[in-house]
Symmetry: none
DNA sequence: CCTCTTTTGACTTTATTTGACCTTTAGTAT
DNA sequence: ATACTAAAGGTCAAATAAAGTCAAAAGAGG
């Protein structure tokens, strides 16, 4: 699959973030544009479509001399206590969005969940939903 | 009985899927249409009539630049009764040996299994063990 | 001839790329 | 302090690149 320029920039930034100590990076828009040989607004486009709050990122910037764009991966707002009431599938989708699970992992876990619950008494299904959410939450150290 | 264009495209895609590592392919609608010298919507037609969820396929797509259509074969429902008695952890290790699961996946599934079973009545634990073995067996299309 | 499937193409929606123009900030000269 | 200037980043809309939709036309089989 050929990657679009936007995809490549996204990937590059995500690698930088993942390697950073504090899940936060500071870049210069122009510099990055030069690295990828594109117009600066391409960078703005990538940030505004792929590093949204919904996907768990917070951005700040400053114009003018010594300007910058900072992207920070926000820690999830999910409190441990609220986890019980979250739908497992929605939770998995959210984890995928945040790239804590890849596509295959997400699908596999969903598949396992469905099959485990398939003919289990109703009262245990909710429990398994909750336990899986909690287990994922813990395993991924969120 | 002469094969229709739709039939030929279907066959072509199924060969590609069967040859793929992960039973999943990514194509460009336009490109495929060019290959078969037809309109792009013909491809959409084939996918929507022959690669339905009911027939065990899941599709995703993206429009715009570098768009694609991904078709994934979801696993068939084989129920092998002998699987019931296999220990889940041993089974996972075996899958890892055969490189059907990577380390992270194996560990994550074990972690989930332990946490799901943690305080479930004894009689359901064996069932979950068996269901997970079966689900993995099916999911990985062994 | 009638029905169901296939083929086609016009139109719609979504995603990406590019560039012209706007705003903010820091530094410098007066 | 004030005004000017250069150096950022922001906005927005046009151009381009895909895929989706839908219905009409064409074809196949009974």
């Amino acid at each position: 699959m050929k990657k679009s320029l936007a995809d490549r920039i996204e990937q590059y930034l995500k690698v930088l973030i993942s390697r950073s100590d504090d899940k936060s990076i500071e870049i210069q828009r122009i510099e990055l544009a030069e690295t990828f040989d594109c117009v600066p607004s391409q960078v703005t486009y990538v940030i505004s479509t792929r590093f949204t709050e919904k996907e768990g990122y917070i951005t700040e910037s400053r114009r003018g001399g010594c300007g910058y764009v900072r992207i920070r991966q926000s820690s999830p707002q999910l409190a441990d206590s609220a986890l019980e009431y979250i739908d497992l599938f929605a939770f998995i989708d959210e984890l995928k969005l945040r790239q804590l699970l890849n596509h295959r992992e997400a699908e596999m876990i969903k598949y396992l969940a469905v099959n485990i619950c398939a003919d289990l008494p109703r009262e245990y299904r909710a429990k398994i939903n909750a336990d899986m959410v909690k287990a994922l939450y813990n395993y991924l150290q969120m």
